[in-house]
């Protein structure tokens, strides 16, 4: 099975990278972009049956820094 972990900065945490991307988009002439927040996507290739709790533990222990980041797990079951 596979899982995707989306890591995003918590609301309110300043995102200098997102701001720079925002400015660059404006510089390219894209109007109407109100805000940009950048995050990370981590794809995990896991043994079948790996539990949600295990993936969550991976996020808490390493993948995300929960002081400043939130994470969301998306499981992709083998078809």
């Amino acid at each position: 099975m596979k899982a995707r972990v989306f890591i995003t900065l918590k609301p309110g945490v300043l995102d200098p990278q997102g701001k720079a991307i925002h400015h660059a988009l404006e510089g390219l002439g894209f109007a109407g972009v109100h805000d940009v927040r950048a995050g990370k996507l981590i794809e995990l290739d896991l043994a079948d049956g790996t539990g949600e709790a295990d993936i969550e533990a991976m996020c808490r222990k390493l993948l995300a820094n929960t002081v400043i980041e939130n994470f969301r797990i998306e499981r992709i079951e083998a078809t």
Binding site: V13, P16, K61, N65, V67
Partner: protein
């Protein structure tokens, strides 16, 4: 003083801090590799050096904080052994949970590499005994992720408990409340972004960093 310098793949200030410690203590520190699981017996001071451990993969300091040696460092810190983390070492200490908060990308995006003015906020700690409270000193910084952030309650607690050791006296990286260095609650762990080991000899352009090591030696010995 029997000091140890932890070396991670990508550390690049390990030799600088080793030279400073050897000069001040008269004894060369033991260089401890990140994959070791134990510190030398009798280690009474630990330095986590600056650099780009593990290429700053995932987050600065994130991989190093989970290296095998960090269990021993955490245990020693909890026993009261003084631990200093400079720059990447500070990032490792926050990632390891030995200090609160996090070091994020500089607010201005750019890598900042220059001497900066700092205000010594607390001269009562093990690490800052060589300075006067309120004194302005100059130390070099060289970092991309030095923007210290924590929630308001944590920042209030750090300030209320005198745990802000150093503050930037000029805009540098967007750090909350201009924090440049903080202490843990027991006062035996210091993390700071500026490099005291790079302002150690007159040839460095300043010697304000030397007093940190001299004050520390006096406080520990």
């Amino acid at each position: 003083m029997k000091s140890a310098v932890i070396v991670f793949p990508g550390s690049n200030c390990d030799r600088d801090i080793a030279v400073a410690l050897a000069a001040v203590t008269g004894r060369a520190p033991v260089m401890v590799w990140h994959r070791d699981s134990e510190l030398p017996d009798g280690t009474d001071f630990i330095a986590l050096p600056g650099g780009f451990s593990y290429g700053d993969y995932l987050r600065s300091g994130a991989m190093a904080a989970r290296a095998p040696i960090m269990r021993a460092v955490t245990a020693a810190a909890n026993r009261g052994v003084p631990v200093i983390g400079v720059c990447n070492g500070f990032q490792v200490l926050t990632e390891a949970g030995l200090l609160p908060g996090a070091l994020m990308r500089n607010a201005g995006i750019a890598f900042v590499c220059r001497p900066v003015a700092l205000s010594v906020e607390n001269s009562q700690s093990l690490f800052t005994a060589g300075y006067q409270a309120g004194e302005t000193i100059t130390l070099p910084v060289a970092h991309h992720d030095g923007n210290y952030q924590a929630d308001a309650a944590t920042l209030d607690r750090l300030e209320g408990e005198g745990r802000v050791a150093l503050r930037y006296a000029e805009p540098v990286n967007g750090s909350a409340r201009s924090i440049a260095g903080i202490l843990n609650d027991a006062g035996n762990v210091l993390g700071l972004m500026p490099h005291p080991e790079r302002a150690f000899e007159p040839a460095h352009g300043g010697t304000d960093g030397r007093r940190l090591f001299e004050g520390l030696l006096e406080a520990v010995a």
